[in-house]
Symmetry: C2
Subunit: 328 residues, 2 copies
DNA sequence: GGTCGTTTTGAAAGCGCGTGCAAAAATGCG
DNA sequence: CGCATTTTTGCACGCGCTTTCAAAACGACC
């Protein structure tokens, strides 16, 4: 039955009041240097650490940030999560992880809000205005990643999908590819919609249109499946553009299985530039989605709003880049 | 300046005492059905939810569980994390995510303990006895995943590495492979050590020894690299056994780049059976490391110890299985 | 030494909630 | 209807900490 060491214990042992112990652990509090050191020393020997739960109850900040992410086992999500966690912990925050599967995002966020999180970073699901309002009502700033709410009013950071698609379209057009297919991801997904639209627009600029369109679920397996379908449909395709890298890698597999040479007979492009994209016998030509900068930007937004609640909402578009490898 | 709705507000609005509000939200508390419903209704309209931080302060349980994992972007880690999160949330826990990079595990766990976590699940780094004791002193049970402390005394769940290696050795020996190489992972890793030892032992049973051994860092990139080294060394290898799937996939790439046919000219085996192992033009023969059961077992252990602190520590070995695909 | 302006300190009031305890209300029974 | 039980309720305290506020200690300066 282990009893925690409390500030009272330290106070008694150090011969000071509990308030002093609190101040000793509060940077910038009014306390003499001598006493602070003394208290620290005593605390050390007793093995005392301020209870952050109790601290969170009084102060306005718990240091907890809700991080909502989709299926973690997807390469992009995992990659992003890794950077988010690093960024959070660098800023002294602690991530409360919520993995959303389906429509229970509201419920999960509510649960997180009950933990008095200082804020939330949402990189999955679709955030309704209602949810956003509820967060604001709880005093927890919300930052979206990879999706922006068109009604505005919510901080978001998202890569420049339009520019990415333009770059890909230009490259393929420049290579003289004419019969192009689009392999989209899960519908109702912001990334899917924006990339899809952007592609159509960009192709138009080159006088091209899609020969075929097909839809997967952003997974490599669906890339194999739908890619296979496209290749078997007798469409005589030049290129397959995929809504993300995972599916593109799947398409690459499908092509290899059929003995179709990439990039000579077929170009394949991805989006995100996940680490695995550079590997494999046929490295992927793709668009770099700068995960690290995205995470940093998200935290910057969060911090800014935490310090100045009245700030106007802001949408940060992080720059993308064409990564030329060999698949296209 | 949004003011949270507190139990007092609900009490006032419902014309009852604050204690009643508390009881209305405490399952099994002494309160009449009528009143509970009434309070719930009022709470609903006010948008009240019990503050879990405050609740955690009084009660012994915060519902927070520290989850320590290594590099999340690695497929296996991500996969495991996904299942852990699911399992935790199914049991009403909330994961506090700690990504350890380097030796600061102690520090991170200390920080988590300051949040009064109910327990910790550690799937990364090496846990010293000192750390374990500190956790126990804070009343937070520790459960290890994929590593067991040989001094014992700590709950752990880990797949049966020995049996896995036996199965692989038997298969390769049965195929008449004779010149085998081992591609190990990061040293000082429990998985690496146990799998390595187990392989040597298993091979001995078939009168075989390793022709070569090499070491990566569990990443696919290192698989490409070290696999390439092995293939270029003129060792005339029959088979390359890898300490995990990611490296095996890398080796597969390396072989493909060199035009070496798998499995005819070379067998490649992995370990874990991550989702990506089944994909690709050359599906991986590997050992299934049942992540889901692992996560479930970890939670069972955690719950058991939470309910009965005095319980003897237990090591659960989850069963593995040989997954026969085409790479070996 | 005394006065005034500065730190430095301790007492006490919360933060939002759970819960033991005793009072109040409801119920059962004769 | 009266009494003994049982259920339901409210009060008040405490969880571990932060933070006013006023008192105490300090130091400088005349």
């Amino acid at each position: 039955m282990p009893m925690r060491v409390t500030a009272d214990d330290v106070a008694r042992a150090a011969g000071v009041s509990r308030a002093m112990v609190s101040r000793a652990f509060t940077p910038g509090a009014s306390i003499s240097v001598r006493k602070r050191e003394h208290v620290h020393r005593v605390a050390q020997t007793l093995g005392y650490r301020p209870n952050l739960i109790a601290r969170g109850l009084t102060g306005q900040r718990t240091g907890l940030i809700a991080v909502v992410v989709g299926e973690i086992s997807r390469p992009y999500e995992a990659w992003l999560l890794e950077h988010l966690v690093k960024a959070l912990s660098a800023h002294g925050y602690q991530p409360l992880l919520l993995a959303v599967e389906g429509a229970n995002l509201t419920e999960m966020l509510d649960h997180a809000l009950a933990y008095q999180v200082d804020g939330a970073i949402v990189a999955a699901g679709s955030v309704s205005r209602e949810i956003a309002d509820r967060c604001r009502a709880s005093g927890a700033p919300l930052v979206l990643i990879g999706r922006v709410l068109d009604q505005g009013g919510i901080d978001a950071v998202c890569c420049d999908n339009r520019e990415g698609m333009r770059l890909l379209a230009a490259r393929l057009a420049g290579q003289g590819r004419r019969r192009l297919a689009w392999l989209g991801g899960t519908p109702d997904t912001f990334s899917d919609q924006e990339r899809d639209q952007a592609l159509e627009a960009a192709l138009l600029d080159h006088g091209l249109t899609l020969t075929a369109r097909r839809r997967g679920d952003f997974s490599q397996a669906s890339g194999v499946e739908e890619g296979g379908w496209l290749l078997d449909a007798g469409l005589d395709l030049d290129a397959i553009l995929c809504a993300n890298d995972a599916m593109a890698l799947g398409v690459l597999d499908a092509a290899a299985q059929r003995g179709i040479h990439v990039p000579d007979a077929l170009a394949v492009t991805g989006f995100d530039d996940i680490p695995a994209a550079a590997l494999g016998r046929c490295a992927l030509t793709t668009i770099r989605n700068p995960v690290n900068e995205t995470a940093q930007a998200a935290l910057r937004l969060l911090n800014a709003r935490l310090q100045t609640p009245g700030l106007a909402a802001q949408v940060v578009r992080v720059d993308v880049a064409l990564i030329e490898r060999i698949s296209a």
